[in-house]
Amino acid sequence: MNAPILSGWLLLGEWRARFLQAIVAVMAIAIGVALGFSIHLVNAAAFNEFSAASKSLSGQSDLQVHSKQKYFDELIYPRLAQFEGVRLINPVLEFMVPIPGDHNSGNDQRLRILGIDMFRAAGMSPDLLGVPAEDRLMDGLSDDAIFLSPAAMEWLHVKQGDTVQFNVGTQTLELRVAGGVTRARAGQRIAVMDIGAAQWRFNYLGLLSRIELKLDDGVHHEAFKTELEKELGAQFFVTEIVEQEARLASMSRAYRVNLNMLALVALFTGAFLVFSTQALSVARRRSQFALLRVLGFTRQHLMRQVVAEGIVLGVIGSFCGLALGYGFAALAIRFFGGDLGSSFFPGIQPDLYISPAAALVYFAVGLGVTILGTVLPARDAMRIAPAAALKSSQENNVIDSVSVPWSAIVCLSLALLLAQLPSVYGLPVFGYLAIALLLIGGLALMPRFAAWFFSFALYWANRRFSCGKLHATTLMVLARLANVPGQASVALSGVLASFCLMVAMAIMVLSFRVSVDNWLEHVLPADLYVRAADSGKQGGFLPDEQKFLTELPEFSRIDFLRYQQLVLDPRRPEITLIARPIDSADPRNTLPIIGEFIAPEELSGHERSIWVSEAMVDLYGYSVGKQIMIPVGNRLQSFIVAGIWRDYGRQFGAVQMQLSDYQELSNDMSINTAAVWLQSKVTMDNAYDILHQLPYGDTLEITQSQTIRDTSLKIFDRSFAVTYLLEIIAVIIGLLGVAASFSLQMLSRSKEFGMLRHIGITRSQVLVVLAAEGGLLTTLGVMLGFVLGWCISLILIFIVNPQSFHWTMQLYMPWDWLFLIAGVMLISASITALVAGRRAVSGSVIRAVREDW
């Protein structure tokens, strides 16, 4: 058989006849692939750039020595230098310094400064060397000179020779821009200065943040690392570059995976559109396929023909998707930077790079979902009984063939089971699978459900109008919906799929937003928050300054808070230690505690309480009542976990303890932040004036709690902007699917409409029938979509989110938004049905009934 020619003719013939539907299906696949590919490209580019920038800071070291408390005594340096096997040793002091200016924008206003020994760094991390002016070659060792990367210079609006100001505690420090760090990566905001000068000017005397080691050739890194860790003790850890890369990857992995999943949702709806296009195309061509079978096409030929049609759609759609995805990614990086609204990759300006493997994967995914969307219709085409199909106009059963309730029930039960399973490498793999199965199970139940629902409606209508008053149009509408559930379900499934995904996302996002809002209200009880920049290892407010603040009569209450970064596991990002006064009578008055907790009086005298965030439970296995060791002061201290609190601010974990405990254990009396309550007669403006009149007033960062809340919610909305965009695109594709299925149904029913016109039904009555069918189907789709979407939202809220980001939230329903979307769906689907119907009834009535097909 000359299959290629035949297949080509049939394919071109079908495309010629249904060009618009084919283009819509191609577009849907292209958009789905484009979204996924562009998100991958942007994330990969940003991550690679971020990783490369981090590597450039680490230089070419084999190992790095860190402390759990971020900074450690430099006395360890000579010990390490004498270690056998060490060829080169490079001490580094790295810290972040706030830049004076607007701190309410939500953007990171801190500059990373690296203090290096330029002679040692030349051999280890030459990219970090500053380039001084030709006549001031000794600036590299000067205590008033700093070198800025091009991105930092641009950000701070300074050039070589200018001065730049920094806050150090409650003091202001001015440094001269001695030159550039010209080999820094594009977008990398860093500053470099002599390590001694940095220690002195920023109050880090005698402290280092890491020591980089280059080992002699032939030294076994792993063995050396183990021996060194044993030698240095539990306060230190030794890492390799690979571990740091893993740590960087783990920081943003959940976010990146979740974005990719959202892009897949768009692709899924695209696949659904292909399915409905192909399913209805097969339904319409039943007689044609039957003829081909009579003429000698085997079942396999027919199956291959339909699959080939899908493959062509998939190949074109996927190719267009890759090109479109590259364009989207380039635009996204140009206009939004590399972080897509998140704060994982601040300031990054990455270059796009297409990895052939990734392009192939996204191409395969696009093609794969298209083939999936084609398999059922192809199977249906294969099963056509030629004699019967040529004789009668049997409707298609594509959906019916998978609608056996047990298969749906298996899917739904499996979804329930998978939802109980834990995450895989920190990713909610089973959660996503549960969502997919829930969706498939729900869709598979639809034909039966539609048949039951409309049969009942028909039965009810017959009884209600038992004396023969049931209107012909009502009868036609209900009878068709009840008796041809297969075709009805194709359209219904399009509505259902897009609406349920929209419901799920809307419930999840609103629940998250309201939970964050409530949380902010709980954790920001004061009127004002006053922060001072760190002064070296210490917080910005020293005891004298604290005393001065507490004595101000305009303030009714001041709570002091001490923030510190700790590293408990070198493979994971830092956690935050917060020391503050916590209501000992009931810690719930201070902390947003969830679940059970231990009251302070339940602990014995020598035990100290610590309250940990939800992330600590997931990441470090902490639980209420467990004894844990946390580095406070210069050694590890024992605490009892007294409660678990909700924290939306720190995804990688935080712990809180009484400030008095912290000060007793660490002897560190400094604090970073003062939470200030105003006396009732004091206005906000008064409070600002009073604080600015302090001797160090200009160095303070003063923020109203309302501003912090607004800024936080603004950041929340910004980070969800991509989510909203993906959601809207998924819905548009879903609606296109509805339009395509309605329009194909109308075309396949032109003979029926012609017959109806022959027996005296007016054109407007046919349109009423169509609008009613569209409206009823959409209503049912919306109702079922709501139930399914609600179930999916439960998985998103209670499984996917906690497993991805380690925080829980409460369920809130966006009723107004849901009603609005339901209304929009209902109206757009009815209009689509009407528009498609107008085309179907506008043709010649005589021709419609005379036509073969």
């Binding site: 000359n2 020619i5 049939l10 009579v294 003429l295 004699a387 004789k391 005379r850 073969d852």
Partner: protein, 221 residues
Amino acid sequence: MLELRRVSKAYMGGRQVLSNLTYTLKAGEYVAVMGESGIGKSTLLNLVAGLDTPDSGEVMIDGVAISELDDAAATLLRRKTLGFIFQAFHILPHLTLKQNIALPLLLNDLPVLRVEQMLAEVGLSGRGNHFPYQLSGGELQRVAIARALVHRPKLVLADEPTGNLDPDTAHDILQLIRAEIKKNGASGILVTHSHTAAATADAVLVMTKHGLKKTEPVERE
């Protein structure tokens, strides 16, 4: 050419349509089958074409029991040996006339050179690139005849080929079918309700509950 051996067929619900039907159609013979509605004429064609299987008995084409073949083998036999003409034409609407007629040739891996000749034979020269919607009913049936015979099948099955046509056009079409079957040396079975149509065949088989009864055509033009 075609041999029916004690063929029986009943449908779901127990309705018996064919019972111990036996008949032999010789090569080159063109017969019309008549009978009341529901007696089993179309069922007979479906059994001959291998689109349906008998409950008992055998349908032999050129010595091969088509009723014993699996779907793929029956399809291959049908593709090569049979040609079909339907009441409802069944011309693929999105292919040109040439492409429609070429279908059996391509399915059988034969050169498509005969398409133009067939178009000419059925009176549609120069219209090969037209689409079906540009044709009248009679013209569509001419295309169907060309398609049925283009690959020189040994047996042509025509199921009410003129049921949708006016008497004059029907007459032309019936003559054309007969002429083409004879010219191509094929055998043919014409299922019809029309005595006029049946008269164009060499013999008329009347189908009753008791089987097929051969009569002479009562009218021939």
